[in-house]
């Protein structure tokens, strides 16, 4: 539990104490002090707890541990440790090309204005599939992997733009006409079906 979560819980406890006073003795609101107490206990503090809780939950949902805590996502989490640089997610995760604690989010976030909201809605749909219906096997991204998620970091980078293959097809990449993960390019992604045959990297080795 982080310090901020601890502070939020302390704030929630204070709000519960104030709300409990009003639950037990609502007559205290007759006086001006009671009115202020009610305003704090039933409006200001709960609203702050709501905003703080939402912020904490949204930040948590961007963490790698959060994503791989769903049973269906476990093999995708394992694929980050494959000892083979041709595995794109593993190479990014192990070399810290993306923040290791936000590896899933860094490559799967929708980097548009309403992207985070769309991501959360998609996430809730997946939780529904996990617990109510059935998750697809293999899991596929609706509409395919969007190149913008790669270009968000790689566009403008010397190593990427200096590559003559990338330069030749840049327009197709930008328009998402040709996928970065299409066959013959960076086509080894999570490849979870082959995980039983690969070697794994152990951090600290």
């Amino acid at each position: 539990m982080s310090g901020l979560t601890g502070m939020l819980i302390a704030q929630i406890v204070v709000a519960i104490i104030l709300a409990s006073i009003l639950l037990i003795r609502p007559s205290v609101t007759v006086g001006p002090t009671g009115k202020i107490l009610a305003f704090l206990g039933l409006f200001v503090l709960p609203a702050l707890c709501l905003v703080g809780g939402m912020d904490t939950q949204v930040q948590r949902s961007e963490q790698t541990q959060f994503c791989v805590s769903c049973h269906a996502m476990v093999p995708y989490g394992r694929s980050l440790y494959v000892d083979d640089p041709s595995y794109i997610p593993a190479a990014h995760f192990q070399n810290h090309r993306v923040p290791a604690d936000m590896a899933c989010y860094a490559c799967h976030a929708d980097y548009t204005i309403y992207g985070p909201l769309k991501d959360k809605l998609r996430g809730v749909t997946r939780i529904y599939m996990q617990y109510v219906s059935k998750p697809p096997n293999p899991i596929r991204i609706p509409g395919g992997y969007n190149n913008n998620q790669c270009l968000h970091c790689h566009l403008g980078a010397r190593g990427f733009e200096g590559n003559p293959i990338h330069s030749a097809i840049m327009d197709s990449l930008k328009s998402n006409e040709l996928s970065c993960v299409s066959s013959g390019c960076h086509d080894t992604v999570h490849n979870v079906a082959a995980l039983s045959h690969v070697k794994f990297w152990r951090p600290g080795q």
């Binding site: 539990m1 929630i12 709300a19 609502p26 609101t29 039933l42 609203a47 709501l50 809730v124 939780i127």
Partner: protein, 74 residues
């Protein structure tokens, strides 16, 4: 039953109960690191807290506060 007939104290009790319940669920969701905790917070905790706040605001707008001293028994 109309709102003004319910009385501000009853509405405050309802509001407090909703807020307390919502906050308790929020604590549970913060202590549980799991995707379901997110769902629990968004759909249960946030709804209860928001409803509690709404009931409190409704009590302020639609129900006139009793005059000072009316809570005392004669």
């Amino acid at each position: 039953m109309k709102l003004h007939e319910m009385g501000i104290q009853r509405l405050l009790r309802i509001s407090s109960a909703l807020v307390i319940l919502g906050l308790l669920v929020e604590i549970a969701s913060l202590l549980w690191f799991h995707p379901l905790a997110f769902v629990l917070f968004v759909f249960v905790s946030a709804s209860l807290i928001a409803l509690g706040i709404l009931v409190y605001l409704v009590s302020l707008v639609f129900v006139a506060a009793p005059p000072a001293g009316s809570h005392k028994s004669p």
